[in-house]
């Protein structure tokens, strides 16, 4: 069920980004937010529920996730790896990923 919701959300987020944010679309093209967010699982665990060592994301709100990603990206929040990783995402992508994973 969660997964159906994820796929539906992905489609609608991509569509919303497409309609509301022509600049982001020009910059990044159409993207699948569920796909991008699925790649966070390798370090943060399925659905952001980590087995340990790496922080869990499943207790964070979407605002907190987006805020963290932006702060990692700018370097305002220090990190070992998240800066190198988060710099790969546009603002529209950061918000769409956060919408996928956030509470």
């Amino acid at each position: 069920m969660t997964n159906n919701r994820l796929v539906a959300l992905a489609a609608s987020v991509a569509a919303a980004a497409f309609l509301a944010c022509p600049a982001a679309v020009q910059a990044g093209g159409q993207f699948n937010a569920a796909l991008i967010a699925s790649n966070c699982a390798v370090c943060h665990g399925p659905g952001g529920n980590s087995a340990g060592f790496t922080p869990s994301l499943d207790k964070l709100t979407k605002e907190e996730i987006a805020d963290n990603l932006r702060k990692f990206r700018s370097g305002e929040k220090p990190s070992t790896i998240m800066r190198r990783f988060a710099k790969g995402f546009s603002d529209a992508q950061v918000d769409a990923i956060a919408a996928q994973l956030g509470k």
């Binding site: 997964n3 159906n4 796929v7 991509a14 990044g28 093209g29 159409q30 993207f31 699948n32 569920a34 796909l35 991008i36 699925s38 790649n39 699982a41 390798v42 370090c43 943060h44 665990g45 399925p46 980590s50 087995a51 340990g52 060592f53 790496t54 070992t80 790896i81 190198r84 990783f85 988060a86 710099k87 790969g88 995402f89």
Partner: protein, 428 residues
């Protein structure tokens, strides 16, 4: 014996499942709406990093799709963290995974080996004698070795001179040889030219074997003979070795490091200029796509499989997708994490294609952590977007040089986090 009958039982159960699925599609054909929402049949070959991820994620992205995973082994032993086993800091059981989690996720798991693929009829044959039809096939068979390129090295030679580049019995063999070796014995690792599975792998292996030697065989040395003159995360490895290991000597390709012949019986590595006799000799052979990719006619002259970058569909045979080490994915390395990320992108594309939708432009990512000691980790990471000529990097890079011990320790901890979580993402 019991193993054999277990396999047969699994096959029988499987045939029952296939029978049921057959009925469902027959009903659909006669115009009745199937409750399963049957939107096609996907078969995945290979239950490693790429294949097991693909099977799980096709099901996740579209639960109506009938997904079958074919893998000969009852358990999968990961190459990631097998270097830690060689270094004596992890047990084999901690890198071994069963397929129960995938069955629970709704994937039909068949323990058999694919012996032939017919891309026109869209069927495949298994060693066990089954013929299986698919709408779309995803292949992730990993690598095989180019024994034909190295005089003196073949399947039989791998007992004396293990490659340990597919984890399992080979890992155990190399570990036992290291433990049995006298203090003072020379360990040789031979590293191949590009491209090969896991670019930082030979250097992590050198590090963790050097760690074992330093603490257990202090008079022993490790000679790393290399076909290359540059390697992945090289400045970071050299920095870490300068701090921790006086027992590693690296010979670059342009200094005659390439091993061109193996004398397995005497454990001798032969280069253009020298013969080096080892007490333990780990030869990492040059590689090519797994045998079934060749058998199915999916490879080009390079020995690897060309694919469309947004769907991973073979550019040779329509309806067959190739991911992971076997595929040519320009821009991305051959790694477990890359295979996992490609599998997810491929799953999205396959689900869309089966529905008749236009696939979106995928983004992928990869991180390879390496341990230099149990408490000293380094990483390389990247995020990519697909383009018609390969994967274009959005961001990424290696860990910064000159960091303190606390930073390296954090990355060693996060390396363990990566392993625990990617394993659950795939087999959990």
């Amino acid at each position: 014996m019991s193993k054999h009958s277990a396999t047969r039982n699994t096959r029988r159960e499987f045939l029952q499942l296939v029978g049921a699925a057959g009925v469902v599609s027959a009903l659909t054909l006669t115009g009745r709406v199937s409750l399963a929402g049957s939107s096609g049949r996907v078969v995945v070959v290979g239950g490693g990093f790429g294949g097991a991820t693909a099977a799980r994620y096709v099901k996740k992205f579209d639960p109506g799709i009938d997904v079958t995973l074919i893998e000969p082994n009852i358990e999968y032993v990961t190459c990631p963290f097998s270097n830690a086993v060689l270094g004596g800091i992890r047990e084999m059981t901690a890198i071994t995974h069963a397929y129960k989690g995938l069955s629970k996720a709704g994937v039909k798991v068949l323990h058999d080996s694919v012996s032939a693929v017919d891309p026109v009829k869209k069927t495949l044959a298994t060693k066990g004698g089954d013929s299986i039809a698919y709408d779309r096939l995803i292949m992730s068979p990993g690598v095989d070795f180019r024994f034909e390129d190295v005089p003196g090295y073949d399947e039989a030679a791998t007992r004396m001179v293990p490659h340990a580049w597919k984890a399992g019995q080979q890992t155990v063999n190399l570990r036992r040889q290291l433990m049995a070796m006298d203090d003072g014995g020379l360990v040789i690792i031979a590293s191949p030219g590009n491209p090969f599975r896991c670019p930082p792998g030979p250097y992590e292996r050198a590090s963790l074997i050097a760690y074992y030697l330093k603490h257990n065989k202090p008079r022993s040395k490790l000679l790393l003979l290399d076909a290359k003159s540059k390697f992945s995360k090289m400045p970071l490895f050299l920095e870490g070795w300068a701090i921790h290991y006086k027992n590693i000597e690296w010979v670059a390709g342009d200094k005659g490091g390439e091993v061109i012949e193996v004398d397995a019986k005497n454990r001798v590595a032969i280069t253009d200029f020298d013969k080096h006799k080892a007490a333990v000799f780990n030869f990492i052979p040059p590689q090519k796509a797994g045998a079934i990719a060749h058998g199915a006619g999916l490879t080009d002259k390079s020995g690897w499989c060309p694919v469309d970058f947004s769907t991973f569909e073979s550019t040779i045979h329509k309806g067959i997708h190739v991911i992971g080490d076997a595929a040519i994915v320009t821009g991305m390395p051959k790694s477990g994490n890359a295979a996992n990320s490609q599998a997810k992108a491929c799953a999205v594309a396959v689900a869309a294609l089966l529905k008749g939708d236009e696939p979106t432009t995928p983004m992928t990512s990869n991180t390879c952590y390496s341990l230099i000691t149990p408490e000293y980790g380094i990483s390389v990471t990247a995020v990519w977007t697909a383009s018609p000529d390969g994967y274009k990097k959005n961001s990424g890079g290696v860990s910064p040089k000159g960091q303190d011990a606390a930073f390296r320790k954090l990355e060693a901890t996060y390396a363990r986090g990566w392993y625990a979580n990617i394993s659950r993402d795939i087999w959990g």
